[in-house]
Symmetry: C2
Subunit: 117 residues, 2 copies
Amino acid sequence: MHDPDTIARDYLAVWNQPDAAQRLSQLSAGWSDAAQYADPLMAASGRGAICDMIEQARTQFPGHAFSLRGKPDSHRQFVRFSWDLAADDGPRVAGGTDIVRIDDQGRIAEVVGFLDS
Amino acid sequence: MHDPDTIARDYLAVWNQPDAAQRLSQLSAGWSDAAQYADPLMAASGRGAICDMIEQARTQFPGHAFSLRGKPDSHRQFVRFSWDLAADDGPRVAGGTDIVRIDDQGRIAEVVGFLDS
């Protein structure tokens, strides 16, 4: 059984990983090969494309990091959690809520993200 | 292109429909035949099973109705909206946020629901 807190923290660690090779390694460990990602601004299919997409997103917010907001919840193969994006000690520049589908191996198979106002 | 407000209002109208035959007719119009539904308390697959599931949920809250909370948002084939459940002029007894996947024909193919505290 997957633990929603671990899923959420590992997920944000992927977004916060500055090294692309390390990030791809984290994706290989925790995401299925054909994982799908879609939010209002970006979409990608497969670990490699998702790794590149995160790289591009990170270049837009140098010095910023994603952090968990509130407590993840979960039922069946689904996990929901919210996050904030902010620079060190800076104000929140974005926030969102992601819904993650976990596959039978406990890996992330799909992410659908929304931005919160 | 689907309109998120219409999707959300039609969705809640299905839940608020007391007549099972009418509800199945609404499901046939707006949901795909093999639609999937899952929230923390219930899950069902296919229009008929979803129609029965809603019947059972409704019997637990006689005189209550679902109403839209806030504004639906959407990107690509996904719609997100929040709802409240309350009796007429009564306090909210439950609330949640649902994520809906729309198929190529503009019909609901999947609902993943979460309860909000």
